[in-house]
């Protein structure tokens, strides 16, 4: 095998996101894997490597369990966990193996089954246990600090991140954040794979139950189940594809993963900005692409507040101009840079391990001109972004090759 300068997506799939109480992660992951393989015209017997992203059963050898459903060939199989960047990290493993010449073709799968777990968690002491304060953990806490020393769970963390941006920049507030959700709900109506396909007015969104101000219930992503998969291939493989398959191959122009560099405030409140900016800047340089060249972006809108920050972090707007960008319609499907035309995490859903692969499916489908009613006409360059708190950020830039 030889080193491959470019890595290509030759197959992509996702299940509809939603709730599958009668299936498990192995069913969902296998379904996505087989669909991506069929889409590529290859089989599991052609693959040199498999990488599988799953969070909730990270110690459960999900990849090997999927192999038992679709074909056990003895290839290396990596199981990855990297919070909400789990699926994208699996893609990165497949990508680097091909780039290094260790694999000609590889499949990456992202899958999650969350059920109706919710994002609030909530452990508790069994009633009747005697309560005696004993310091425990790295902060010597004698009781749960949640709700006493602020909040550390997702809706509030991302609300605070949004409010920090609002403090730094004029023209950003509750209404701008709500407009993000208005857009993504509206976009989802065109996506049959979205968990929810329902339009809501700005008034309905702003008037919905507040989860963590400024995020209302309609500004938070749902939990759910689903899977997505991509088949990656080297230059050599793509050259040998039959013309109809080669025409559908999508070039990965950049593939980047970052973690948090040290920042002062991130010691108490995750900093979702710095590592996203670093990932984006590295990706633009790797691809030789300018943000203004992008025809569509799928970014990590786990909460409406998050999407607004990432307009700025991904350089989609002028520095500090995220409020103006949404107010002027820039990220709508008919705007300057369409963002989350799939409906985003807010409507399409966010089965954690699947998300970072599903956004590659979405952009690939548009670059192939196969996105049906939601197609962004003439799309040639797209960007995907995910962030897992803790933190891990992945950015990919995909391009339709010149005919």
């Amino acid at each position: 095998m030889t080193v491959s300068d470019t890595v290509w997506i030759i197959g992509a799939s996702m299940t509809k996101f939603g709730r599958y109480p009668d299936k498990d992660v192995v069913d969902l992951g296998s379904e996505a894997a087989l669909a991506a393989l069929a889409d590529s015209g290859k089989t599991i017997f052609d693959m040199d490597l498999m990488a599988v992203g799953n969070l909730y059963e990270a110690n459960g050898m999900v990849g090997q369990r999927i192999q038992k459903q679709i074909g056990q060939t003895g290839i290396p199989c990596y199981n990855t966990a990297n919070a909400c960047a789990t699926g994208a990290s699996a893609v990165r493993i497949a990508h680097t193996a091909i780039k290094a010449g260790e694999a000609r073709m590889a499949i990456a799968v992202g899958v999650e089954q969350m059920g109706k777990s919710g994002l609030l968690g909530g452990a508790g002491r069994a009633k009747g246990d005697r309560k005696v304060f004993e310091p425990s953990g790295r902060y010597g806490a004698v009781m749960s600090p949640e709700g006493v020393l602020g909040t550390g769970i997702m809706p509030g963390v991302f609300a605070q991140a949004g409010m920090e941006y609002a403090r730094q920049h004029d023209g950003v507030g509750f209404e701008q954040f709500a407009r993000v959700a208005e857009k993504n709900h509206k976009h989802s109506v065109l996506n049959p794979l979205a968990q929810y396909q329902k339009e809501f007015s700005l008034e309905q969104i702003m008037g919905a139950e507040v989860v963590a101000y400024p995020n209302t219930l309609l500004m938070c992503c749902p939990t759910g189940d689903g899977a997505a998969a991509v088949v990656l291939a080297s230059d050599e493989v793509v050259r040998q594809l039959d013309p109809d398959q080669r025409r559908r191959a999508v070039k990965i122009s950049a593939s980047v993963l970052t973690s948090d560099p040290w920042t002062e405030s991130a010691q108490v409140q995750p900093d979702v900005n710095t590592l996203t900016r670093q990932a984006a800047d590295q990706a633009y340089e790797q691809a030789g692409v300018d943000p203004q060249d992008l025809d569509l972006v799928e970014l990590h809108d786990c909460f409406a507040t998050a999407e607004l920050l990432h307009y700025d972090n991904l350089r989609l707007c002028e520095p500090g101009g995220a409020g103006e960008f949404i107010d002027s319609g820039g990220p709508w499907r008919d705007g300057r840079i369409p963002v989350n035309v799939s409906g985003g995490l807010i409507s399409k859903g966010h089965p954690l391990g699947a998300t970072g692969v599903a956004n590659l499916y979405e952009v690939t489908t548009h670059l192939r001109g196969e996105a049906g009613d939601r197609q962004i006409e003439g799309a040639k360059v797209g960007l995907t972004h995910v962030i897992g708190l803790g933190s891990a950020c992945a950015v990919h830039i995909l391009e339709k090759p010149a005919a």
Partner: protein, 141 residues
């Protein structure tokens, strides 16, 4: 007076002078509330305890309405930039949980209060931040 313990070990009760203490990197001054093997910023491996100011400004906040079971809502969570260095997260107290009543950048002052009592009568003392212009004689621990 009943026995009191701090809710977390970086809150030092110290009689009538409760304050936060951090591990400060001896080389670059970076502050950490937990123990570190090495400084995440510069890599140095020695630290000293540093007392942090009780006053600061609100860097970000959220008003939490939906929380895990057992957590009383609504409450205001905030990230506070402390005067003289350090960033801390805690609840805002003595403010209405109403976005109109809370200003980003507003000055706040640390206060302490009893957050819970265990079955031996020991009180857990928590800290929060109140608007700096108000007076809060009732909030001493």
């Amino acid at each position: 007076m009943s026995k009191q313990v701090p809710i977390v070990d970086y809150l030092v009760l110290d009689g009538d002078q409760p304050h936060l203490e951090a591990n400060a990197c001896a080389e670059c001054g970076a502050l950490y509330f937990d123990r570190r093997n090495a400084c995440a910023r510069c890599g140095a491996q020695s630290f000293e305890r540093r007392a942090l100011a009780g006053s600061g400004t609100v860097r970000a906040f959220t008003i939490v309405h939906r929380a895990a079971p057992g957590v009383k809502t609504p409450y205001v969570s905030a990230v506070v930039d402390l005067d003289g260095g350090g960033v801390v997260k805690s609840n805002l107290v003595d403010v209405e949980p109403d976005p109109e009543q809370i200003a980003l950048g507003m000055p706040v002052q640390m206060v302490t209060y009893v957050a819970g009592t265990d079955d031996e009568g020991t009180e857990a003392i928590a800290f929060g931040y109140a608007p700096a212009d108000a007076s809060h004689p009732e909030n001493g621990a």
